[in-house]
Amino acid sequence: MAMKLALGPLLYFWPRERVEAFYRQVADWPVDIVYLGETVCAKRRELRLDDWLRIARQLRDAGKEVVLSTLALIEAESELAGLRRIAQQDEFPVEANDMAAVQQLRGQHYIAGPHLNIYNPASLSLHHRLGATRWVMPVELSQQTLRQMQLNKPLQLETEVFVFGRLPLAFSARCFTARACNLPKDHCQLRCGEYPDGLDMKTRDREAFLIINGIQTQSATTCNLVRAIPALRELQIDVLRLSPQSQHMEEIVTLYHQVLENRLDPGEAENRINTLTCGSPSNGYWYDSPGMQWLEQPFKQGQGTRVE
């Protein structure tokens, strides 16, 4: 089976028109799977479930497999109710990013999202038994762990790896965008909408460090594992996830696609993609190193030799 490309859920808060225009373009991009919906903050209501469903149908009509993603941090009853509406629709599969979602989806198939903390084959088997058809590896895990997971996973369960984008690193009850704007969370004025790729947080020596995206904290670097595609193929990974950024996304998706089709050398694609990323590139987690690092190394298939 050829590896598929997936466009991960949009992690930022864009105006409704921009979201709709974005996904109209996505319909023509060489991605197989599109994850839709709000995974970060329930207060972002530019698009309601009906709007997402409308976009989902358009993408399905364009030949895409569509999955509805759900919140990673759920606290309020209203958020559980919103989750239930997604879990109870039967038109599209759902990505669970919290155990509350897994609980609500019992008896149904689901995709076990990157925030479920699946670190070992025992957890993987549990989710498979509960109905998971695909799992997304947590971003902090390495290719060595992935290899062992692949060797020990249930046969029919698909594996998806986050290969491109700023890394979602943490979730909090506190909104750091509101905090940066000196606003209380309850009256945040949805200021995260002013930062289409998140808000830069720099160290005191003015180095890019993290990105504030409402209650989510991301890496300032952009993960790029395009050069690892031969290794990912050898590991029989089913799906590669690319997380959207506001600019150049079509070019980036196209470059990944060309590598998958063996029409472009991975090293060449890496060089080109690294000129298009929001932040400087990183690939440390893949090599069992700090996630912020970029490790230049001669490519060895499936081996995680640490080079620092």
Binding site: L73, I74, E75, A76, E77, S78, L80, D98, M99, A100, V102, Q103, Q104, H115, N117, I118, Y119, N120, P121, A122, S123, S125, L126, H127, P138, E140, T145, Q148, M149, N152, L167, L169, A170, F171, S172, A173, R174, A180, K185, D186, L199, D200, M201, K202, T203, R204, D205, E207, F209, L210, I212, T217, S219, G284, Y285, D288, S289, P290, G291, M292
Partner: protein, 335 residues
Amino acid sequence: MSNRIELVAPAGSFPALRKAVDSGADAVYFGFRDATNARNFPGLNFDNTTASDAVTYAHRHGCKIMLALNTYPQPASWSNWTRAVDRAAELGVDALILADTGLLQYARQQHPDLRLHLSVQGSATTHEAIAFYRDQFAIQRVVLPRVLSFSQVKRIIEKTDVEIETFAFGSLCVMAEGRCYLSSYVTGESPNTCGACSPAKSVQWHETPQGREVRLNGVLIDRYQSGESAGYPVLCKGRFEVNDELGYAIEEPTSLSVLDILPQLVRSGVSAIKIEGRQRSPAYVTQVVSVLRQALDAAQQDPESYRVRDAWVQQLDKLAEGSTHTLGALDRQWQ
């Protein structure tokens, strides 16, 4: 009168465990000396002999003892964690505090009579998430992440039959526990993978003309002028620039303290309140347990006339990170 609430105290070493027991803790929690628990710090925790001594000491004094095995095992070292579960069962601990679903399943299958608690690292923030862990693994208690408001805590208690444990005092994680990879992003080690956040081996201090700098694996976390007190560089508690303004962009160094709302907590129906700090000294454990013992007794005996004593606050603030305290998310109006 509510049911008696357990005061749960940290034991990072055998001396700290003795102090916790002697100062009036109802239960203590500890970890093995390896990556199987979320306070995997140099010089801390228990080897085989001290673990056995710890269980004996606690039980002889009528104190419960629980083992934290609350990191996420990866395939290469899976058997270290399952062995730790088996050892805990042999030791006769009163409960295991787990986070990983694979390990919860193992413990439930291999040791059907063992009491299981869901660690704060399990990130269960709603009654439905708790129901998942109860249905799958028959957990009997859950430790709630410190991201919930008090009204959210109360709602969870109303909607679940699983015992609820909340944090009462200690360092504050502002991120949902178990959902934070910031430390591995910078250092390669995180609470989930290695039981460490901002590990000491990655910390570098430098005197510079601009002040005393502290870096974590090369990343500048903060810089202190002479006279400014410098705390441990937990990376989310440094000072950073956002929109050209310098400040604590994520969280100030401060400690959680629930002294102000103890009677409300008692009435809410929590089963246990927990003190953070297995990395702290025996003296710290003595003082915090003593103060919270007095306060909890007062709040349980007569919630109506409960008053926070100045002496309690002064004693705890001296021990608190940044010498200040907060109710954290508990104080928020979030529904």
